[in-house]
Symmetry: C2
Subunit: 418 residues, 2 copies
């Protein structure tokens, strides 16, 4: 049996690392805060007899060895990094629920057929190094490690330097290869939306992840003196930004009730009160479950910006282009069966947020378990999940792990009896 | 005679302190860069036999003693700080032209009737600590030093701490009292506008400074997850900012051809690509030569923001409220006479930008001399003034200084013959 009290205690203890006012957490990727979280989680893993390992992308693994060490392992986990004003549950709940399930399996004394591995992926959030999900992207071979290492944070620090410094703090951890085969992947996460709470159901069987496109837009004007430069002669990048943002919100953000359109980051140069801004860079995050709608909306961004930005120049750079994807039907069925066996109500639902499981789904059968979060609030200090819901989700996760750990072969065949 | 080559060489040498790409300068108030500029200017002053002094607001003075040490001195100067992406002339040209004039006077061996003092005012630009013109504000008793010391920069460093640290680097400088009487004040500056260049005239006799109001506006919404929070449920501070900025630019920025309306600084929290922004703070800089128009435009800011910001909350904080002012008619006449005597074409014009002379004008007869700058560009690396124009302005400044240094009494009477 899993230990819901231990899981909750560990989650609250982890939330003290990088704690910010209002109950939130600021523990961005490859910072000292994340290193401290690693040390804590590694210590808990060692207590359970798991072997800590890492890889060149600073993903963290805690390995329970199976009978056949060469067989593709079962991976389960999430991430330990947070948004700059993030909450206590996003990511950490999934890593600790996975640790709880594997700890429980180890404690049972039964040796699984294959390695069962808790994983914490590097930089899921993408707030420090954009775009996010870098660790799983590297692991799954979706992006070259060299390209990832070249990304810089807002202070100009390269992800490569940050990775090297971070890993230098863990010199004893063996390195796993990137892109090694995986037998199956499971991830528990808070829903970050209102569906489960509204339905009063503690476990969500995630059908897939809505499609997402992200962009970086640069508006280039000309700096000038706020007191002297005539309005008609200005190429004011902030004024151009305001026009672009209004048009984008109206035309794309208002397209249908399902679309999500967000300008979350705005960087103004030189950003001084008495200087007409010469440059504005801003981010666009666009999501929709229907790939055709997503593509059509994305295609409108550059023309809308060009129409509004005059007399400033516009450059739109696409970053992420992740179509809507579906999770493995056999694993989804197993999650449903596990919940039913435990007497826990469950329902299928689409994930509105992106997760590392999106990348893993290309490498191995993958699935996600959602638990409700209060008012759908996430990426904010007020983020909250009920202990009973976390316990329910963790119990389902542990039961599906049991299926995967002892199956004769992976992938599981549809309809295999447990 | 003044030495135009020395003046130009010194100006270019000073521009190397804090140099940035494109020929610009980043030498913000109370930084190590400004300290280095002080050391350079103090050394030049000592070469000329001037006594360097400072005061509690970190204004720098270089004193040529007069016969009557108790008589209110002639002050002349400008500032040594720059915008973060500033140019080589704004401020520095005025301080070095003043140094050139006083150096010339000292070298002549004639002892002036009263002290003649080069001054560099602290934090004219206001890019690090807002609002600007802090040093002259403190000197003129317009704002309490304690209130100035309490201002914080973007990194949370208090102006008080910055002042203490800065002045600790100059332990040998005697401290002048704040708010001591002044006999007259002169300031040379680049125009920062296109009027003199378009007219082909090297010297502007500044009639006054257009009125200026500045504000800080805070829009408060609610943070949320960019992938999950429905558009209809958002209180997105960036979206609210875009609507407010569009309305303000349209309704106030488009009021008449003379108005200047600038949103130069925008600060988003948490400023992460996948987080709906919970807060945006932005600056407003509003200027107009007609005080009635300025007041009416300023009064519209809060209602316009409130109408557009819904569902976000709005707080508008007025910062600077400086009505349009006129400079001393007698000094303006003297500047015109000096230019005529030197055969230098001159014309009256209004200053669109604010200057420390605005504050000094409340304490003593004050005036300004403008020189042209290329294409009106300022607060940018491309800022440029022709050597011949700087030489012309400096010669006029030196000649008016001569009037003031040897006059039997200050203020000068209208129509006094030279």
């Amino acid at each position: 049996m899993t230990d819901p009290d231990r899981l909750w205690r560990r989650l609250m203890a982890l939330a003290e690392i990088g704690a910010i006012p209002g109950g939130g957490v600021d523990r961005q990727a490859l910072t000292e805060g994340e290193a401290e979280a690693w040390r804590r989680v590694i210590a808990w893993g060692r207590e359970a007899g798991l072997d800590p390992q890492t890889d060149a992308a600073a993903n963290l693994f805690l390995v329970l060895p199976g009978r056949d060490r060469a067989a593709p392992p079962v991976l389960l986990g999430s991430h330990l990094d947070t948004q700059p004003t993030g909450g206590r549950f996003d990511g950490a709940a999934g890593v600790l629920a996975a640790l709880d399930a594997v700890t429980d399996l180890a404690a049972s004394g039964r040796v699984p057929a294959r390695d069962c591995v808790v994983v914490a992926w590097m930089n899921e959030e993408g707030s420090r190094f954009a775009p996010g999900m870098m660790g799983s992207e590297a692991y799954c071979g979706l992006r070259d490690l060299a390209a990832i290492r070249a990304v810089r944070d807002a202070d100009g620090i390269g992800a490569g330097d940050a990775l090297d410094r971070f890993l230098a703090g863990f010199p004893d951890l063996p390195r796993r290869p990137l892109a090694a085969p995986v037998g199956a992947y499971l991830e528990l996460h808070i829903e970050q939306g209102p569906v489960l709470e509204a339905a009063g159901i503690p476990v969500g069987i995630v059908t897939g992840i809505q499609g997402k496109k992200t962009y970086s837009v640069c508006l280039s004007g000309a700096e000038g003196h706020a007191g002297t430069l005539a309005m008609a002669e200005r190429r004011d990048a902030v004024a151009a930004f305001a026009r672009c943002a209004c048009a984008l919100h109206r035309e794309i953000g208002g397209l249908d009730p399902t679309i999500k359109f967000t300008i979350g980051r705005v960087q103004v140069r030189p950003n001084a009160p008495s200087v007409v801004a010469g440059e504005v860079r801003f981010s666009i995050d666009l999501r929709h479950p229907d790939n055709a709608v997503l593509d059509a909306a994305g295609a409108r961004i550059a023309p809308l910006c060009r129409a509004e930005a005059t007399p400033c120049a516009v450059a739109v750079t696409p970053l992420v282009d992740a179509p809507s994807n579906g999770f493995d039907p056999v694993l989804r069925e197993r999650i449903g069966r596990a919940a039913a066996a435990l007497g826990i109500p469950a329902m299928p639902l689409l994930s509105a947020a992106g997760h590392d499981a999106r990348h893993l789904a290309g490498l191995a059968p993958s699935a996600m378990i959602f638990i409700p979060c209060r008012s759908g609030i996430s990426h904010a200090p007020a983020e909250w999940a009920e202990p009973a819901h976390l316990a329910a989700g963790a119990a389902v996760l542990a039961r599906v792990l049991d299926d995967l750990a002892f199956a004769d072969a992976l992938p599981l065949a549809r309809g295999d009896a447990r």
